[in-house]
């Protein structure tokens, strides 16, 4: 029973992180058809900026929005100055289907090495604003801390904000329109290029929030968030790469399968589980759970 509760709680907390990372990838993919591998690098740089803010002000709650803002700005810069021209240049030939993936790998490398030059590869301690020790109920200590609760609640708030934004605001609506039918939205007066940049910025902010949430209690290094990219991407692919609900579900599925296998089977399987889960789901649904189909969810 204790094991079951522990596994579910850890799964929930991990799943929330994966879901938000997956959402960041989905936001970019559905607005520009780019799988952004630089996401981990962008989140890492934003987290370093958050770390600098914490080091100076000792206040986590200021660092979180500043990091999110920095992440948004960085993403907007990458979209405007690299991805947009690239889409126009590499639109034909053998490279066309993979050009953006390759360019984002290049950006990831630049961010990695740039961050290592500025902050060195030495691991930095990021103080958590809340306790990272397990919560004690009765005589048993559960591997679930206040920090995990902070993660889950922040992710839920961010997701609900995004949902509200996409469903209820006119900017959110034009974002969905531009993702769904760029040509027709252009005719309807949506400034597609600008709207795409906003999509990237939102994704950058979401990635930055992931970094600032997950790093406290852990160490920060230029490579510390890379593995989250893999998990987030797997979660996004499970969900179908286009649907925010899919990202949330994919994150949860992955988080739960990871925590249950590591508690019930062996913790040595952490890197193999994502591959197995992904392959099983893709064998049944090659375009993910919410992906494909005749009608696209805008």
């Amino acid at each position: 029973m204790e094991k079951l509760i522990s596994a579910s709680l850890i799964g929930l907390s991990q799943g929330a992180i994966f879901a938000l990372m997956a959402l960041a990838l989905v936001l970019v993919f559905r607005s520009t058809r780019v799988v952004n591998f630089a996401q981990a690098g962008q989140a890492m740089v934003s987290t370093y900026i958050g770390w600098e803010v914490v080091a100076r002000t000792e206040n986590y709650w200021i660092a979180l929005p500043i990091a999110a803002l920095a992440g948004a700005l960085l993403a907007a810069i990458i979209e405007t100055f690299l991805m947009r021209p690239l889409a126009k240049r590499a639109s034909h030939g053998a490279i066309a289907p993979v050009a953006s993936i390759i360019a984002s790998l290049g950006v990831l490398g630049v961010l990695h090495s740039g961050a290592a030059m500025i902050w060195t590869t030495e691991q930095k301690l990021f103080q958590s604003p809340v306790s990272v020790n397990g919560i004690e109920i009765g005589s048993t200590v559960y591997p679930f801390s206040q920090a995990d609760m902070l993660i889950i609640s922040t992710v839920i708030i961010v997701m609900l904000t995004f949902a509200f934004f996409f469903q209820r605001t006119s900017l959110g609506l034009s974002l969905r329109a531009a993702a769904f039918q760029p040509e027709i939205s252009r005719l309807a007066g949506v400034r597609v290029d600008r709207v795409r940049t906003i999509g990237w910025a939102l994704s950058g902010a979401a990635g930055a929030i992931v970094g600032v949430l997950v790093t406290p209690g852990n160490y920060l290094s230029p490579f510390s968030l890379d593995i989250l990219l893999v998990y987030g991407f797997v979660a996004a692919v499970i969900g179908g790469l286009e649907s925010p609900q899919g990202a949330a579900l994919g994150g949860l599925i992955l988080g739960m399968s990871l925590s249950f296998t590591s508690i019930y089977v062996s913790s040595g399987l952490t890197f193999i589980v994502p591959f197995v889960v992904l392959l099983l789901i893709l064998l049944v649904k090659p375009k993910g759970i919410f992906g494909g189909g005749s009608s696209r969810n805008a």
Binding site: R89, V98, G109, V230, A236, G268, F271, P274, F275, L282
Partner: protein, 347 residues
């Protein structure tokens, strides 16, 4: 059906002479490399082996991505499979070392078949995701089974040169083998990619529906590309293991898979031998060049260590933006452009 056979027969006649010409070209290249192996130092020999390894590995990406249009972020994983198969077959089956290379190719190709069957249903980002997860998952398997030697890995003995060459230094011997492996791979790749298969893959890449209407079995051809690519990557893994003398999970990080893609893009993703050679030389030469420059100008350690990745990544971005289909095509484009202009002038 009859038509196709007739066409094939004609093709065979024509191909015979080009095959022979290519074979002669490769024998000459081999002879030149053999000559140089006695004229250069150990460092150059070691770099030469590394270049050969990259030529093979980049070839596997060129076949898969440049021709069949599938992307793999996991060819480093197939290299790992090849490497481990080579080592295990030497340890437990006592195979002579050149046979371990064959077994490595077969083992990696078999893994490629399994993944390729799953991958044939996946496109673009979904395939990228599956192969990325594979590249992360596979090296960690080594820690699960004691027979794979865990984090320390296993040793591999590349043996000595046959006595008919007399006394041969270890690095020269390694250089010979890796060059031979690279030359054979390139010859085979060149022939496959210029054959009917190469054209079939290209046609699927540009329009799979149209390709299927002409009677091509697109899923099967894609699986075949995956199998071949995995087998070639497995050979690269065996060559890498041979030159390191050992195999361990840390030799196959995710960055290796990314480096291969970088090399292939710099090479021109649908180019052949000259491209993959350029890509490999850039990858190996870059670290040498930057190492020399940083010691020459006494650049601080932190900067120096990361400069290489920065330059390679920046190069990747520039390559994909400015010469998306490779430097070769760019040069051809410019030449055509000039020709066009001069023709206009004559009129």
């Amino acid at each position: 059906m009859l038509n196709q056979k007739g066409f094939l027969a004609e093709g065979v006649l024509e191909m015979h002479s080009t095959h022979r010409r290519r074979l002669i070209l490769f024998i000459v290249a081999g002879a030149i490399l053999f000559y140089f192996s006695s004229r250069v130092g150990i460092l150059r020999l070691y770099q030469g082996s590394t270049v050969s390894m990259y030529v093979i590995a980049i070839g596997s990406i060129i076949l898969l991505t440049g021709y069949s249009g599938q992307i793999s972020l996991g060819n480093g994983a197939f290299m790992a499979i090849g490497a481990y198969v080579a080592v295990l077959s030497q340890l437990h089956l006592d195979l002579p070392f050149f046979l371990t290379f064959f077994v490595a190719v077969l083992g990696a190709a078999l893994a490629g078949l399994v993944l390729g069957i799953a991958a044939a249903r996946l496109t673009g980002p979904y395939l990228a995701g599956a192969t990325l997860a594979l590249a992360v998952a596979l090296p960690s398997i080594a820690n699960l089974f004691p027979v794979l030697g865990g984090e320390q890995g296993l040793g591999y003995d590349s043996g000595n040169a046959p006595s008919l060459f007399g006394e041969v230094a270890r690095f020269k011997w390694l250089f010979w083998i890796s060059c031979l492996a690279a030359l054979i791979t390139c010859l085979l790749l060149q022939n496959i990619l210029k054959s009917r298969y190469g054209r079939v893959w290209k046609s699927i890449r540009s329009n799979s529906v149209a390709a299927e209407l002409t009677g091509i079995n697109a899923p099967r051809s894609k699986v075949l590309a995956f199998v071949l690519s995995a087998g070639i990557a497995g050979l690269a893994g065996a060559v890498l293991t041979m030159s390191l003398g050992t195999v361990s999970p840390s030799a196959f990080p995710l960055s290796l898979s990314f480096a291969l893609i970088t090399g292939a893009v710099i090479a021109g993703i649908s180019s052949l031998l000259p491209g993959s050679l350029v890509g490999a030389v850039v990858l190996v030469g870059m670290s040498q060049l930057i190492g020399t420059l940083t010691t020459r100008f006494e650049i601080g350690d932190v900067l120096a260590q990361n400069l290489k990745e920065l330059v390679v990544s920046a190069l990747l971005i520039l390559a994909v933006v400015f010469t998306p289909n490779g430097p070769g095509e760019k040069i051809r484009e410019m030449r055509d452009h000039r020709k066009h202009h001069s023709h206009g002038g004559h009129r």
